[in-house]
């Protein structure tokens, strides 16, 4: 029982913080008597959502789909670029420098261009997502692939291991933690990219719903969309966190439980072994 209580501590803290924020929001609306077109109360927002759940689900799903699709493409392209940058000095000098330069460009400025090129459908929105989400992936992966111990490479070279196998068996697993932390940054940016894309073009998704609602001063609808975006963002972030726990359970940031479990039995076993050896 105590264990369940401890295990859910993070979840309980999180719930308390969210409920606290909603309470402060409700109290502010009530105390300052804010009109509904400025700040609607939490109850009004909830009522709006309950009245049209299908409408909001459909738009959330559209936003989620574009974010995930763009993110997946960004990861794929990012990985390919990173491996290229690592393998070739020429690519590093050209592509990597170019990417770093492009990263300082506000990607919002590119969105209208993508609409001109790819139309108002999902493709132009995904292009915005990729242009924003790819940088943390490339930077994380390149850093990870590079920060390998040169002695480890020597160990593999002494066994005459081919470069390709060194990449897959040593460099890539070593790079996974920094790739995953790049992905965590990137997934949040993917959602930003989707909303930017939806602001510029199209009539689907939470972003365009916000824009439409703003036009009719339907502040309640804007609030529903903002809350849903927050929920989506949190779900996406924790999904990557879950993937990380599954892919790199060996990383110091995740090994807490296992180490605790393994240590008590280690000491007596080691002594027993030493006794047998001599």
């Amino acid at each position: 029982m105590l264990r369940i209580w401890q295990a859910t501590e993070a979840a309980r803290t999180f719930t308390a913080v969210i409920l606290g924020c909603i309470a402060i929001w409700a109290v502010c609306v009530w105390v300052f008597d804010l009109p509904v077109f400025l700040v609607p109360s939490p109850m009004t927002v909830l009522k709006e959502f309950i009245e049209k759940p299908q409408f909001y689900f459909a738009n959330s799903l559209s936003t989620l789909w574009v974010s995930l699709g763009g993110f997946a493409l960004a990861v794929l392209a990012g990985l390919i670029l990173s491996i290229g940058i690592i393998r070739s000095v020429w690519l590093e000098r050209t592509l990597y420098t170019l990417l770093v330069g492009l990263n300082s460009l506000p990607k919002v400025a590119l969105a209208p261009l993508f609409v001109i090129w790819f139309g108002t459908g999902a493709i132009s929105k995904m292009a915005v997502v990729i242009s924003i989400a790819i940088f943390p992936i490339v930077i994380g992966t390149v850093l990870g692939l590079r920060s390998i111990d040169p002695e480890l490479i020597n160990m593999a070279r002494a066994m005459r291991a081919p470069q390709k196998r060194i990449l897959w068996k040593l460099r890539f697993p070593q790079a996974l933690p920094s790739l995953l932390s790049g992905m965590k940054v990137s997934i949040s940016l993917a959602l930003v990219g989707t909303v930017v894309g939806e602001f510029i073009a199209g009539n689907k998704g939470l972003g365009s719903t916000i824009l439409a609602a703003q036009g009719t001063f339907d502040t309640t609808q804007v609030f529903v969309c903002i809350v849903l975006l927050g929920v989506l963002g949190a779900i996406l972030f924790y999904a990557i966190d879950l993937v990380e726990r599954y892919l790199i359970p060996w990383h110091p940031s995740h090994r807490g439980h296992k180490q605790q479990a393994a240590n008590p039995q280690r000491a007596p076993q080691h002594q027993g072994r030493a006794g047998v050896a001599h």
Binding site: L152, M155, A158, R160, K169, L170, L176, W250, R255
Partner: protein, 258 residues
């Protein structure tokens, strides 16, 4: 019959902004098959560089190394190497770490697995095959690293101060285990160390290197009966070898010798 491992007139020079650094200066060394040879010297005398060159990981400026009649050009086949750090990777279990050799050398998986388990048992790691490296002590980790080097059944085993980072007791234990495995397999073994005791205890021959210039200054045959035990170190003969080597280090101006 030519020498198994033949290092002739081997020189390695690193260019540096403050002039060339002579890491190795015309080293001549012949090692017979099955010999246990230690390279002893103070830190910075180029002994690790020499080992890396024998491994084919670095190339020399002039001179050549012949292994089994072939002039070395890159890492030769049948090579096993143990480094000062164990270089186990965290994402693999102990057994998987040992098996990385089989994956790199493209050995038959089942055969290699059996051999890996046998070696792990021999080195007292039975029961830890599926543990991760971070759950092991330093001595156990280095034992696993030795298993990783041995699993491909190398003809030549190179060890670069493998026990330098371990505590004295674990070091003694591993010295005995290493001698045991060497007596069984009779591999040619080149062992780099800066400990006089360790070199005398383990070797058939101790090659002494000096610093500035980095060259071989002594080639001493150690004629102690095997298997040597911890009490061998108390014998008068062992003491004589150690004193002789210490005196040599004093003569060439290196007082750092233990």
């Amino acid at each position: 019959m030519s020498t198994y491992l033949d290092i002739s007139d081997f020189t390695k020079v690193y260019p540096s902004p403050r002039g060339d650094v002579h890491a190795l200066e015309s080293v001549n060394l012949g090692i017979e098959e099955g010999q246990f040879v230690s390279i002893l010297g103070p830190s910075g005398c180029g002994k690790s560089t020499l080992l890396k060159c024998v491994a084919g990981l670095e190339s020399g400026t002039c001179g050549q190394i012949r292994f089994d009649g072939q002039v070395l050009d890159g890492p030769p086949s049948g090579l096993g190497m143990v480094f000062q750090r164990d270089l186990l990777v965290d994402w693999r279990t102990v057994l998987e770490n040992v098996m990385i050799t089989a994956e790199f050398l493209e050995l038959d998986g089942d055969v290699a697995r059996k051999e890996a388990l046998r070696l792990l048992e021999l080195f007292g790691l039975k029961g830890f095959e599926h543990h991760h490296p971070w759950e092991l002590s330093g001595g156990m980790r280095q034992r696993a690293a030795i298993c990783r080097a041995l699993v491909g059944n190398p003809r030549l085993l190179l060890m670069d101060e493998p026990f330098g980072a371990l505590d004295a007791m674990t070091r003694d234990e591993l010295n005995i285990e290493l001698q045991h495995i060497w007596l069984q397999s009779k591999k040619t073994l080149l062992f780099v160390t800066h400990s006089i005791q360790e070199a005398v205890f383990l070797s058939d021959r101790v090659i002494v290197m000096s610093r500035n210039p980095a060259r071989v200054i002594e080639d001493m045959t150690i004629d102690l009966p095997r298997p040597r035990t911890l009490s061998t170190r108390g014998s008068a003969q062992f003491g004589e070898y150690v004193i002789e080597l210490q005196a040599l280090f004093k003569r060439v101006g290196i007082f750092k010798g233990e």
